[in-house]
Symmetry: C2
Subunit: 310 residues, 2 copies
């Protein structure tokens, strides 16, 4: 019985907690070189677009294998497919269709970074952006920290109001729209930047000492959403995939800044192979790139928890 | 609405006819270089096995793109996935799970070869083998020729009796079990060899003039199911993929026989770029290798015809 899940099956905050825990295991496997994530595989269809595969899995006691595929064809409807096998018995565990899993995965990676890098007593969070990524990042933060104040800024006042009321309902947290990016982050212990901005909307001077920042939006030299001085100020710089930061078509935003060599692998911080937050005043910065192969791990955890059997 | 089909949805002889017609279009596209079938892509999971992807599609007015994936893990349950997009509007048409589609596809390729290579008035067929491939090859032959006599041989008398009674029910044809391979093929206008035999079970002397043969089973120098003298006797030698015959791990069974250079592409025969059957006494031989990418074309045709929407 192969389970098949669609976007409408992927609701409920217990799924975010499960995704973060599954990724915690996967990142520990990665630190031990037991997470498989080969380079993307593209197949081109002339004049139409590509099919792009990311294959991945984890070795160990209950090995997983699978892939995500998406296309770059021209059209309104885009459906990703993620498939997962339990590799020790060749059983196809299931298939997850749609766009939600990818967002949930990126959110959960952000949550894992917040769990391991932000101050344990962080309570206040500032969100920049009001799209799907901003929503899942906030849900992930709420799964790992006891938040009591959330502020959100995005350019369009309507969008930030909608975000505040929807996420307040979804998470049971008080959420205030802010009139500027600076206002949203001024008192924040955690900042999530999940915008599409190609120019920095916050700088080091806007932030409180001891803050942790997740940057989820643009971060190539061509365009980046947070000021380079935040990296200068950070005691810890981390990413989910140093190798992917080096593989961007346009160079990573920290290239040539003197900071790129300080970039640690979140997996190494989690297992204690690299240094994490040292003192309460440390600024920590996490650059989220979306480690390939993690969709499979998250899909597996979701398939274990959602009961729709087809 | 993405359709999801499983083995139990792929029943009914109308599907075989649809598959053959879809492949006819695809092979014509191939002759015009509008069928996409890049090399297989393997990803290895150490000590567990591989995921193997064949990507494919067709260009033209209603372009298709998709892939098949299977695994080589150790286990009892093996489920393939075939996914199809309409590439002009990025819509995921559907997903087909299980083992049936692959068999249907190989059967339909055999049917296409029989349509274009056997005598138009062929009525008598001899089947060697009684497995899944023997069944779908016979169903395909029945879809393209008006058969009135079917004989089947396989080593185990019980298997050939079961094949005869099941296929008689399925196709409404009289089917007789034969006591030997020679007896099964002696009067046949069409011979289908779909065995696992590594040594030839029929030779040129066993066959009637004017016969068409499909060899679906082993055909490498390491082992092959039909005598090399059948290739010597054949006026026409064809395959669905000359490039795949050259890519076998062990060389193709005709390597060094002097016949390998006479091998024509079935696609070229269909469009008249290569010579097909010339006279009623010609022996024709089709070597089925399973052209990569055709699963996507067949899956698309099946998805258009089976109404299960999920």
């Amino acid at each position: 019985m192969t389970k098949i899940l669609k976007d409408e099956d992927l609701v409920g905050s217990h799924l975010m907690a499960a995704a973060i825990d599954a990724l915690e295991t996967a990142f520990r496997a990665r630190a031990g070189k037991r997470l498989i994530s080969p380079p993307r595989h593209h197949v081109s269809f002339p004049d139409l677009g590509d099919l792009v595969f990311t294959v991945g899995g984890s070795l160990g006691e209950k090995p997983l294998a699978g892939f995500r595929v998406y296309e770059t064809f021209d059209g309104a409807e885009h459906s990703q497919i993620v498939a997962v096998w339990s590799a020790d018995d060749a059983r196809l565990k299931g298939i997850v269709l749609g766009a939600c899993l990818g967002n949930l995965r990126t959110g959960a990676i952000g949550g894992l970074a917040i769990r391991h890098l932000s101050a344990p007593n962080a309570r206040t969070i500032g969100i920049l952006g009001s799209g799907a990524q901003a929503r899942t990042q906030l849900a992930a933060a709420a799964a790992v920290r006891k938040l009591d104040r959330v502020r959100v800024y995005s350019r369009d006042a309507k969008n930030r109001a909608a975000f505040a009321s929807e996420m307040q309902n979804a998470l049971g947290l008080d959420i205030e729209p802010a009139d500027s990016a600076r206002e949203a982050v001024a008192e924040a212990d955690i900042v999530i930047s999940a915008t599409t901005s190609q120019t920095p909307i916050i700088h080091a001077r806007d932030l409180k000492p001891g803050v942790h920042i997740n940057t989820v939006g643009p971060k190539t030299l061509q365009g980046y959403e947070i000021g380079l001085d935040i990296a200068d100020a950070a005691a810890v710089l981390a990413t989910d995939s140093p190798e992917q930061t080096r593989a961007y078509a346009s160079p990573f935003f920290l290239a040539g800044s003197g900071n790129e060599d300080r970039m640690a692998d979140l997996a190494d911080i989690i297992v204690g192979k690299a240094a994490g937050r040292g003192s309460p005043g440390d600024t920590t910065l996490f650059c989220s790139v979306g480690l390939a192969g993690t969709e499979v791990v998250v899909a597996s955890a979701i398939l274990d928890r959602v009961g729709v059997s087809a």
